[in-house]
Symmetry: C2
Subunit: 181 residues, 2 copies
DNA sequence: ATCAGCATGTAAGGCGTTACATGATTCA
DNA sequence: TGAATCATGTAACGCCTTACATGCTGAT
C-alpha cells in the first residue's frame, strides 16, 4: 500500500460527504479545515486528475453539457482507500511556528523585538479564535447531521489550543518585561 | 531581500550562540527546537555549503588538521541577515495535524476508530509533555545564561499547549462516547 | 571483532506553493 | 463596462525527507 498523499485523503474525505468540483473542494478546505490542513488549486486539480485515472473518483455532470461545473464522486475503491487511511495508526502531527523560532533566538536583539513578535502572534490568534468560536456555535445548533459532531470536535480543538496560546502570550510578555522567569 | 530559507535562519541562530559542526547543529535542533521546527542532514549540510559561498558563515578548525570536526562560525554578514529576519514581522505559523484530519472525516467509520486515534495522539503527547517539562525545570535552574530565558519561553509554550491538548482529548472522547456535544 | 554512534555528504523523489494563463458570469 | 468572482488548469520552483554511501572511533 503506497504511502498516500495527504491531499488525496482530504479530497476523498470531502467527497465521501457529497459530490464536489475542484473549486468547491478548495472552498470547503478554506472554510472548515484550513486551520489544521491546507490545500491549493495547484495540488487539488492534479490530485483529482490522478485519482480519476486510478479510479478513486469519477466525473459526474458535464455529460456534454457545457457550462456546467465538473463535479467528482467518490468510487467504492476510493471509499475503501479512505477507510484504510482512517484506520491506519500512523499520523503525522506537525507544528511549524516561525514565531517560536524567532523567540528562541530572541537574545540576539533587544527584548522589545521579541515582545513585538509575540504581540503580532497574539493579534492573529485572537482573530482566528473569534472565527473558530462562531463556527463552533453554528455546529452546536445543527446536530441533525451526524458528521457535525466530528466537525465540532476539530473546531473545539482549535478553540482550546488558541485559548492556551493567548494565556501563554500574556505570561511570556510578562516574563520578558521582568527579565526573570 | 530574497525570501530567506528557514533552515538557514535556524542554523544562523544556533551559530550566533556558538561555533558548531553540521552534526552538532542537527543534535541541537533535535533536542531543543524540533517540537516547533525540524531539520535533517539532507537540508543542513547543503545549507551550510550555500551559506559559506554567500559568506554568511565560515569554516573554523580543520586547518589541514585532519580528524577534527568541521565547525562553522557566523560572519558579520550572517549576523546581519539573522537580525533582519528576527525583526521581519512576517511569520509562517502552521499546524498540520493528521490526527485532526482523520477525526474530521471520522463519520465514515465507527466512532471507536476515532476514539482509538485520539488515544494514540494522547499517548504521544503525554510522552512529549514529560520531556518538555523536564527541559523547563533544567532551564529554570540555569538563569546565568541570558539566552535560557528565551529557550524557557518556547518550552513553556509547548507545555501549556500540550496540557490543553490533553484536556481536549478527555473531552473529545467523552463527547464521542455519549454521541452528543 | 563487531556494533553503536560520530561525521559528512549526495541523489531522487515527494509534495507543496506561487504565479501565470484563460475565459465565463454576475453585479454594480 | 468594468471589476469581482467563478472555474479550471499548468509550469516553475522551493524545500524537505528518505535512503543511500562512506569511513572513523570507542566501547563491550
Amino acid at each position: 500500500m503506497a504511502r498516500e498523499k495527504k491531499i488525496d485523503m482530504v479530497i476523498l474525505g470531502l467527497l465521501s460527504h457529497e459530490d464536489l468540483s475542484g473549486y468547491d473542494i478548495k472552498k470547503r478546505i478554506d472554510s472548515m479545515i484550513s486551520f489544521f490542513w491546507k490545500g491549493s488549486f495547484g495540488n487539488i486539480y492534479p490530485a483529482l486528475k490522478d485519482m480519476e485515472e486510478a479510479d478513486l473518483v469519477k466525473k459526474t455532470g458535464t455529460s456534454d453539457n457545457v457550462r456546467e461545473k465538473m463535479t467528482y464522486r467518490i468510487s467504492d475503491k476510493g471509499l475503501k482507500i479512505l477507510k484504510q487511511w482512517l484506520q491506519d495508526e500512523q499520523a503525522a502531527n506537525e507544528l511549524r511556528y516561525e514565531t517560536l523560532l524567532k523567540l528562541f533566538f530572541g537574545g540576539a536583539l533587544d527584548k522589545s523585538v521579541s515582545i513585538t513578535n509575540i504581540e503580532l502572534f497574539e493579534q492573529k490568534i485572537k482573530g482566528d479564535l473569534k472565527l473558530l468560536k462562531g463556527y463552533c456555535e453554528n455546529l452546536k445548533e445543527h446536530t441533525e447531521n451526524a458528521d457535525h459532531l466530528y466537525y465540532y470536535l476539530t473546531a473545539s480543538f482549535g478553540v482550546e489550543t488558541y485559548e492556551a496560546y493567548l494565556k501563554w502570550c500574556i505570561k511570556a510578555k510578562k516574563i520578558l518585561k521582568n527579565g526573570v522567569i
